[in-house]
Symmetry: C2
Subunit: 332 residues, 2 copies
């Protein structure tokens, strides 16, 4: 069996030398020293703030036992990139800590390939890590840079601001329902939905473009209603959202299960879309940005003064009950 040091060297250390970033630049992305010492050493650019986030993925909780390791490597990094996107930060560096039941080389090869492919695409340097034996657990800490003063906070939404959502909501939750056998997707609908769940696309470019435009932002990891609620709490404002305006995959109308749809669209996690607020005066600019980026950006409601309460209205103007957001410790 490979030793811990051999494992790190074989599957991850190469990234410090061969990933796209290091290959392209003389001084690789502000990395003074990568994997292989007690710490990595970084040189953040002057005038930039460093954005940091960490996420832990646990087998049986965030992914099923036997999940495709390539997609898992992708997702472990993607959920962290999504946090940077929600701050408007540019991805730069990541650390990866892994607990594995055994030193399974085939698994590690696929996992690192999925992780590093996404890292290369977003020019993230893998600068450090840890491997140990234990129940499968993946912990990524991501670091990015954002010009001082331009980060997008959860606090900042103002009464009168419009609320926007990128892409579509509910697809990942629908795929999860399919995998749990609670609904059966037609063959033609599966690839797109399953990809939403297992290979989410972090909205990094959108986050960066929203600097100076959005007044607040968050990514949809736990569900639209719950995540928007964080913006409302931090901003001390309320919100009115039109349920019919929430963007969702067409497959929901083919299924025709209103309750399932509501659960997925309002409370389904794992979509990793951005929810953001912006003044009405920026509407045209945001619409143009969506067109330029080829990414649908939907106006779904507006921010109100008063209590940090989210009101979701149906087509008849009656309130739609928003199911609770997914919560790791509140689940049965």
């Amino acid at each position: 069996m490979l030793s811990e040091f051999e494992l790190i060297r074989r599957y991850f250390e190469r990234s410090a030398h061969s990933n796209a970033l290091t290959a392209r630049r003389a001084e690789p992305s502000g990395v003074q020293l990568g994997i292989g010492d007690d710490c990595a050493l970084l040189d953040p650019a002057s005038g930039m703030q460093v954005a940091v986030s960490t996420d832990m993925l646990v087998e049986g909780r965030h992914f099923a036992a036997g999940a495709d390791p390539f997609k898992l490597g992708h997702k472990a990094l993607a959920v962290n990139l999504s946090d940077l996107a929600a701050m408007g930060a540019a991805p730069r560096w990541a650390t990866l800590a892994l607990a594995l039941p055994s030193a399974d080389e085939a698994w590690l090869e696929r996992f690192s390939a999925g992780f590093l492919a996404l890292a290369d695409r977003f020019e993230v340097a893998l600068i450090g890590g840890d491997t140990t034996r234990g129940p499968l657990n993946i912990c990524v800490t991501i670091m990015g840079e954002v010009p001082a003063g331009l980060a997008l906070y959860r606090a900042g939404a103002q009464p009168g601001d419009e609320i926007w959502v990128s892409g579509e909501l509910g697809g990942a939750a629908l795929a999860l329902q399919h995998e749990a056998g609670r609904v059966t997707l037609e063959e033609g609908d599966r690839p797109a939905m399953l990809s939403r769940l297992h290979e989410p696309e972090p909205r990094v470019a959108l986050g960066e473009r929203l600097r100076g435009i959005a007044t607040s932002a968050i990514d949809v990891s736990d569900g639209f209603a719950g995540d928007l609620a964080h913006i409302l709490e931090r901003s001390s404002v309320g919100a009115l959202v039109h349920y019919a305006e929430l963007p969702r995959p067409a497959v929901f109308s083919r299924i025709g299960d209103a309750e399932l749809e509501r659960g997925c669209v309002l409370a389904g996690g794992d979509d990793y879309e951005l929810v953001f607020t912006a003044p009405q005066a920026r509407r045209a600019e945001i619409e143009a940005l969506g067109k330029e980026m080829g990414l649908s950006l939907s106006r779904v409601g507006f921010v109100q003064s008063g209590d940090a309460r989210l009101m979701v209205l149906g087509t008849e103007g009656t309130p739609v009950a928003a199911p609770r957001s997914f919560d790791h410790f509140a689940e049965p």
Copy 2:
């Protein structure tokens, strides 16, 4: 049961506001934004490099089931601080990701108290985290600052340099043997040895003082011989170490088991002392530093040109076999 968000708020978010650091300064330690958003935002000081390290602790692997959560909180941060110490970096910020079998409030209160007490002592701001349900797993990412160009690397040892060790080696491994029932420590010896294992003291101040003096450094997490070997590999040099010079607790001579002693002193992990190299010309300076700090600093051998080989010599000048370093995946 508390929700994930309530858990974070109750036990950890206060640290962003009440830990020693934030209480003492207007701009708390370069933290523009702490826990509570998608990312934390940091302002590294100009002219400084950011040192980053991550460690994952798994129940049954790095600590026993039922371990005292206060000490566990201490140790989870201490092992990361030790990595900063080995780079000569000043601790600044940390993230903490936790997987817990259940939201055990008593456990969380003790764990966070142990973690935050050490964080306060070293002026580390807890800037972010993640909590989830799963087999107990603790992942800390630590960030520190070091003036550009002054970090201590593993590479850098030069033939002729002397090899130094702080404090004592083997105490933590001896405590582990005691806990495993393979040796029985006398009552008077237990507290000091058990404290070495469960509440290690990271040599942060020493690391910072060695900037510009040491030519290389590493912390003893896996065992003296194995960790020194990393310096030798990275520096492309060999080393000769006198076994008798390696500092060890007096309890070993009372036990009188030469094999146990050799295993603990040469290959015992978890001591979190610093091993470093420095030119002979700095010897007096280092001795004065040890006196000033009240920390024993022992000269144990010297660096040689040639293969990255470690030769440990006994009192009769014959080689002493160095047991293999602890390795998470090579263990039975």
